[in-house]
């Protein structure tokens, strides 16, 4: 640790998972997730863990449920359509109060909503992190395993096609997780404990406590947990130039690097533009966004979809300032969701247009 290395986002996540003591990982090939499978195969072999190239997405996520319910650190990953297939189990794994890490290797950013609200049934949320560099991918992976165990809940990392394959200088850091408690809920066969069942009906419980929850009761419990997580999981965001900005650009993940660069170029021209980069997508960094809304005349949300995070921004500022959506679905020939919208001339023009319109008196 501590040595600078030149590696890509998948390797950074895989090695961090191994450093976090991930014992089990399962996935099903799909691009750009496949590269992470290859890296996990290498990394877990080094620490005596098991990687499964499963028979289907459904099998992969259920295997992870099995491994995680026994108290082992476990990870699953997929891309876009694969996540739709996994949501049956992912919905229930929240209800079953299973701690695990899920990596979504996105194509563009069309899964913001799914990555924060879930895409399955019942009430549930993921704690969701969106790294924008290889370094942050490594750091947030460690944080994800820690947070999952601390709150005994699923944690998602929203990475993407560019981050998967981009090689950058980074270093692995030590991570202090000494405050984590023993997993006294795990069905790990510990001698001298009351036998337990891990069930989607009511999490992990001992046999003496036999009443299954009614569905309504289960959903109420989920809502309580969601409220608790929203209150207690630290939300993270990076901000810049909020002190003088008239317009604040909000963007997340790797894409935010392009937005931040465009903001820098426009500032050199004298435009008063700032930025907010949510690092936790859920719980949403409301404090930073509200701070931006207090001083700026308008906010502009740039994301590679038809407007998903913009909902959270609008729900946060509640009409205090206009919130413009300046993103769009943007494909190149590869189909991996990283098209012309992120090219600097296009992005700069879009922000400039929003800035200039804002300056025109109504």
């Amino acid at each position: 640790m501590g040595d600078k290395q030149l590696i890509d986002g998948s390797k950074a996540i895989a090695h961090s998972a191994a450093l976090a003591g991930c014992r089990f990982y399962a996935s099903y090939p799909i691009q750009p997730n496949s590269h992470l499978i290859e890296e996990m195969t290498q990394e877990l072999a080094k620490i005596g863990g098991v990687t499964m190239n499963a028979e289907s997405e459904g099998e992969a996520i259920n295997m992870v449920w099995g491994a995680a319910a026994t108290g082992n650190r476990a990870m699953c990953s997929t891309t876009v359509t694969g996540m739709s297939l996994m949501h049956e189990a992912m919905s229930e794994m929240f209800a079953a109060e299973v701690a695990y890490v899920f990596v979504h290797m996105a194509r563009g950013q069309t899964e913001y909503r799914v990555g924060t609200r879930g895409g399955g049934h019942g009430e549930y949320r993921y704690i969701s992190y969106a790294p924008h560099t290889v370094q942050e991918a490594a750091d947030l992976t460690r944080l994800a395993f820690y947070t999952a165990d601390k709150f005994r809940t699923p944690v998602m990392i929203q990475a993407d096609y560019i981050l998967t394959h981009t090689v950058e200088a980074m270093e692995f850091h030590d991570f202090d997780e000494s405050d984590l408690k023993e997993k006294d809920w795990a069905i790990d066969g510990a001698k001298g404990r009351v036998p337990r069942i891990n069930s989607f009906i009511r999490g992990t419980y001992s046999l003496g406590d036999k009443s299954a929850m009614a569905y309504g009761e289960l959903q109420e419990r989920a809502m309580e947990r969601i409220a608790y997580l929203e209150e207690n999981v630290p939300s993270l965001a990076e901000t810049g130039h909020l002190d003088d900005a008239d317009l604040v650009v909000i963007s997340y993940g790797y894409v935010s690097r392009f937005a931040k660069y465009a903001v820098g170029l426009l500032r050199e021209e004298g435009m008063k533009i700032g930025f907010v980069r949510p690092i936790t997508m859920w719980p949403f960094p409301k404090k930073e966004v509200l701070e931006a809304a207090e001083k700026a005349k308008a906010l502009a949300v740039f994301e590679l979809n038809n407007g998903q995070m913009v909902d959270d921004v609008r729900l946060t500022v509640l009409g205090r300032v206009p919130v413009h959506f300046i993103g769009r679905i943007s494909q190149d020939d590869s189909g991996f969701g990283m098209g012309k919208a992120i090219e600097i001339p296009n992005l700069t023009a879009k922000i400039r247009e929003t800035y200039e319109q804002m300056k025109v008196p109504a």
Binding site: V50, G66, N72, A74, P195
Partner: protein
């Protein structure tokens, strides 16, 4: 907790949750045989995990005292695989129905069998969906009428024993819930078997599809001189549909996935610029 220097008995494995099955349900026989099998093997409760899915069979987890997992419909085998891969020292039992294992979960069994993951799968087959009140299941025989198939089933029934044999299961047996001593013996041997063990159990549903008489007429024990190492003969026997054979069809030895996977040495994947460039020299 009591130290288990003393001999464990059936009631040590039996929880005080009362089964909600209908009177006469074949699953009572499977539960009883499983409890006796665990006692016979003197397995410590903390070393056993029972995994179930959805259906009448899915309740099984609650009636046994070892650790348990109650998962989604069809997904008991992947759950059990995850448990076993992460904790190879545990004894892992899957107790599921024909709906769980041969309809929605049908994609999982062949792969778990092919990998030879060391779990024991007990299939409680009643040829009907009991919990949802009597729709046809994948093992329902042709002509079987139900509210969802009023004209009778017209698709070929799934053949659990054949599927297990053809997928590479290393222990394949069939029991009958009305013959608990034999079933107990098959479950014991399935658990003792190192590898993927599949025990198919005819476990009739007295409420919606009572097949006790049907099976009582057709049940036949495997011949005394049956050779369980002959896979081809086992497959031929599995294809017989006029008789319902009971016993150990097939058993073989093959490396267990989770053991092999843990023995793999890491492959050196470090990228070395010099080595890479040397190929162009």
């Amino acid at each position: 907790m009591v130290e288990t220097a003393t001999k464990l008995v059936v009631k040590d494995y039996k929880s005080d949750v009362k089964p909600t099955w209908c009177p006469g349900c074949g699953d009572f026989g499977v539960l009883s045989a499983s409890l006796k099998a665990l006692a016979e093997l003197q397995l410590k409760k903390e070393d056993v995990v029972v995994v179930s899915g959805i259906g009448c069979s899915g309740r099984m987890t609650y009636f046994l005292t070892p650790y348990g997992m109650h998962g989604l419909h069809g997904r008991a085998i992947p759950l059990a695989t995850g448990v076993k891969f992460a904790n190879p020292d545990l004894t892992v039992l899957v107790m599921a129905g024909d709906g769980d294992l041969f309809s929605i979960g049908a994609g999982h069994l062949p792969h778990a069998a092919a990998r030879n993951v060391d779990i024991t799968v007990i299939c409680m087959d009643n040829q009907t969906y009991g919990l949802t009140k009597a729709q046809a299941s994948p093992t329902s025989k042709i002509g079987h009428t139900s509210k969802s198939t009023p004209h009778g089933v017209i698709s070929e029934p799934a053949n659990p024993v054949l599927t297990a044999l053809s997928s590479g299961a290393t222990f394949v047996a069939r029991g009958y819930s009305a013959k608990p001593p034999q079933l107990q013996d098959l479950i014991v041997r399935g658990i003792q078997h190192k590898g993927f063990a599949f025990v198919h159990v005819q476990s009739p549903c007295t409420e919606f599809h009572d097949t006790f008489d049907y099976y009582n007429e057709r049940i036949e024990q495997l011949p005394d001189d049956w050779d369980p190492s002959d896979r081809e003969a086992a497959i031929r026997l599995a294809l017989t549909d006029d008789r319902e054979y009971l016993g150990l069809f097939y058993q073989t030895e093959r490396p267990v996935y989770e053991t092999t996977a843990r023995e793999w040495a890491p492959i050196n994947d470090e990228f070395d610029v010099e080595t890479y460039l040397a190929q162009f020299a």
